[in-house]
């Protein structure tokens, strides 16, 4: 599967839930490439912006979409990677601030 195919597949699944891909499609495709690379080497789509432990159990909170996506999008309008964002974030109504790492807080 290519990043473009994954993009189309996930877009249909996630938008109805209120999660939109970042309008910066180049970044999104890079992050989706990262997910595909992690699927290849670890066997699961570990977050492309976090260091995998290469241990399914240890990484289960950061399988994409990670468990932190909901609180991060609620607070910042974007997930940690800027992969998934809110409609308002994409419309520029929410400032594109760095999303700090919530994991381990």
């Amino acid at each position: 599967m290519t990043a473009e195919e994954l993009y189309e597949k996930l877009k249909k699944l996630q938008e109805p839930k209120g999660y939109f891909f970042n309008k910066d499609k180049e970044l999104v495709l890079e992050l989706l490439d990262g997910l595909l690379a992690n699927k290849e080497r670890y066997g699961y789509m570990c977050c492309p912006c976090r260091l995998s432990a290469n241990d399914r159990d240890a990484d289960k909170d950061i399988f994409c979409p990670c468990v932190y996506r909901e609180p991060d999008v609620k607070e910042f309008g974007s997930c940690y990677c800027n992969l998934y964002v809110s409609r308002e974030w994409n419309e520029g109504k929410i400032k594109d601030d760095y999303v700090p790492e919530r994991r381990g807080q």
Partner: protein
Amino acid sequence: MAEVRLFTLSTCGHCKRAKQFLQECNVEYACTDVDLLEGKEREDAVAEVKKCNPKLSFPTIIIGDTVIVGFKEDEIRKALEK
């Protein structure tokens, strides 16, 4: 010019942009894609990152004695100008 050291992940778009930004600024830097390391080498790199960024998040950018976590262009620019 202060020494510039980057710890990154090969799968992270923000890490890639941090490297691109430094290249555009014609800044020399040493960079390690921690996810591509294995065994002892990986352990040592993780320990080094944790020393200055206990959260072990990426990119971790060290410019002289300034540590910047995340691709924050303004902070990087300021640290380079020091």
